[in-house]
Subunit: 439 residues, 2 copies
């Protein structure tokens, strides 16, 4: 994309109402703009990040056998009356009425709807297990929306729901999803630690929150730093084998991790002091096993092998996709701006033309740009080099390809790695191949 | 995907309340389920189609230089008060109030919001032209939602908005988008004819609707059948050259096409009678040029080259993405079910195991399946061959790979093309290469 023709509006000033660094940087780097309290429009660079995160989430859901669906944003109130949550859910639920005076709500979560859809279509134990997920916009009417997309009102979430014939199956589904989450967060480059948690309004008896350390977080957290070092992508877990899933789960839970609500001082005392991590954390995912709570309340049963009907066992599993954009920035930035991990960056690299209008610089930049116009941002503006360097650091592209008159004459490009600041000189081919665009 | 483990619930009976063929087939083939009047959940096969259509729309928008953003579903009422449309828009607009008694609405369209976003970020003529688009769920509170996703209430739409410095630029943007639309519909395999149309509530002076023939359509249409034969993908139009765009546009508009509101009997008499097409049609896209209507009403101006500020000229451009799923089925089906065009099919092919449990059949099917598990549906259910054939025709996969005991013994696969019914026998390698999965 050519920057001169792009809708990538960066801001020089720090917005006054943005209290945390990710919110400030998302506004300054032109990723989002607020359109109403806690509601944001995603501009081109921000949307690219959101879509790349969604795609990683999707791939890891698919990898554990979950199937993608898409439920609507608006739900009929009757569904929630069947489960008993319509009255129980507080003012965070946005309720509305259509032109025929029918009560609707903007879905804050989808247990009721998925249970109803499942019940309409599945009548036999033979169709189990099933795990269905979707990536959809949700709404929670927070009293005081703040921290940008970290605690907005309209937000993008992946939520998955599992249906199993029995407890053992439900636990296996829970563990598969735990593995998918650990792999997802590892690919995203965030240290999201699974912690034993309260089940809250979803209900149930087994629950983990995935929490990243952040000073603005809502909970106190305590965990064994060894959890940050695990390589979940490298672990050979057979997701169809209960024993293999159990071994993985045992290993994961052998490390201490808990929110303050569940903190156990005795167990904490057993963690090597050098590995104790303690602070505030913000939730980016939450998984629950809650048995037959919804299938029973909504009367959704299937026929068993013995001819008797039974209520399937369920779990639900959320990831805050739009919140993760903020969370990744909280985890990966410096004074100058964002430092995007390669896997989620809006562009692989920016081309900085230090003398736009100079024939040799323009020609070399154009040659670089044409190798992958969709993955490269070309700063072709007639601005000073200082402005371009500052915007490139602010926007956080993993690589900068710097082209000046001296280099253009010699056919040489300066390559800067955003994360380390390291600068090296290369031939065009060599520079492209280092950023993964070589032929 | 293995059918035995998939959430692809087909129905044998025709749903009583579905009046048109696409609605009936979408329910029977397990693509969608209604969750409230005019609101649908997309099941795995339906979502795959929706995502493939979205991707084609996206590619053709990108190809004419439009940039993708994502605006939220909910909008503040103030924006619409600024343009004057808050009171003018009727009961189709879903209005709601949040916990702080602020007025919101579920966006039926986005002219106000995009104009506001543009105004916040662009201050100079140098940033023009800009065309921004998004693919987002919208809501129109139809009095009587019907025809399934063809006239639902919550629906997925692509809408684009162009900003230009002058009339000539705005017309060029309009023509670029016209080209993108013709190419999009051609790739989707639907004959969507651009027709001069009234501008309606969006306003403006230049407008085309893209209409496909359908007996349930809301307008009468008249057009020259030569329009159906044009190859817009093959036309070398230089989108940066106004003269090239004009030549393309002149050629396109040289063929007669109009809705009944704009029908001109004198011009119609000049169309070769053998090429006259007349009937009812349903709108799948609509493009508008409306000048400074919104920039002026909302006070959004930019600085010109001469130092004087001016109001940019705008156009807006919609495609009904979820409606297109129904429209494609209306255009491509037979008595037995859907016939998906290759470009939008949920799966490239289905593998029909005529004797599940037979070791030779299972082994051959598994071998086929493993070549591309994500692009193939494997009907591994222990059902009768008749059930599998019927479901395969109903679901409309472009190809069927049929494996029976006789073929499995000989290493031979029967390949059926859904569109023509043609059946041929092939070696495994040959069959895979014919459906584009060969090595």
């Amino acid at each position: 994309m050519r920057l001169s023709r792009s809708f990538l509006p960066t801001l020089k000033e720090t917005p006054a109402d943005a209290q945390i660094v990710s919110h400030r940087l998302m506004l300054r780097a032109g990723l989002v703009r607020q359109t109403a309290s806690g509601i944001y429009a995603w501009l081109p660079a921000g949307l690219r990040v959101l879509r790349r995160i969604s795609q990683i989430v999707r791939e890891e859901q698919d990898a554990v056998g979950a199937q993608e669906v898409l439920m609507p944003t608006l739900q009929p109130a009757e569904l929630w009356k069947r489960s008993g949550r319509y009255d129980a859910y507080g003012p965070e639920m946005l309720r509305l009425t259509d032109r025929h005076e029918r009560d609707l709500l903007y879905g804050p979560t989808n247990e009721e709807m998925i249970t109803d859809l499942f019940g309409q279509s599945v009548s036999s134990y033979r169709a189990l297990p099933q795990t269905l997920y979707h990536i959809q916009w949700k709404f929670r009417d927070e009293v005081r929306p703040r921290f940008g997309v970290m605690r907005g009102r309209e937000f993008l979430m992946k939520d998955a729901y599992s249906f199993d014939a029995d407890y053992a199956g439900a636990v296996a589904s829970y563990r598969r999803m735990m593995l998918a989450y650990l792999r997802t967060f590892q690919r995203l480059g965030v240290k999201a630690i699974p912690m034993v948690a309260d089940t809250g309004p979803i209900g149930g008896e087994l629950s983990h929150e995935f929490i990243i350390l952040a000073p603005t977080g809502e909970s106190g957290v305590f965990y064994d730093g060894a959890l940050e070092e695990q390589d979940w992508l490298g672990q050979p877990v057979d997701i169809d084998d209960h024993a293999s899933l159990e071994a993985f789960f045992e290993r994961m839970t052998s490390f201490y991790a808990a929110t303050d609500e569940k903190h156990d001082e005795a167990a904490w005392a057993g963690v090597d002091p050098s590995r104790r991590r303690e602070g505030r954390g913000i939730e980016v995912g939450h998984i629950f096993y809650f048995g037959t709570k919804y299938t029973e309340a909504m009367g959704v049963s299937v026929n068993g092998a013995d001819g008797q009907s039974f209520f399937p066992e369920m779990g639900s599993y959320g990831i805050g996709v739009s919140r993760l954009v903020g969370a990744i920035i909280e985890a990966s930035h410096d004074e100058a701006g964002i430092i995007w991990p390669d896997e989620v960056a809006p562009f692989d690299a920016v081309i900085l033309n230090l003398k736009s209008g100079d024939p040799a610089c323009d020609a070399l930049c154009e040659r670089l740009y044409q190798t992958a116009p969709d993955r490269l941002l070309y700063d072709d503006r007639p601005d000073r080099a200082g402005v371009k360097f500052a915007d490139a650091d602010l926007m956080g592209h993993p690589w900068q390809l710097v082209v000046g008159p001296r280099g253009a004459a010699a056919g040489v490009v300066e390559l800067k790695r955003r994360a380390t600041g390291e600068r090296t000189e290369h031939s065009v081919e060599d520079a492209l191949s280092r950023i993964g665009l070589g032929s």
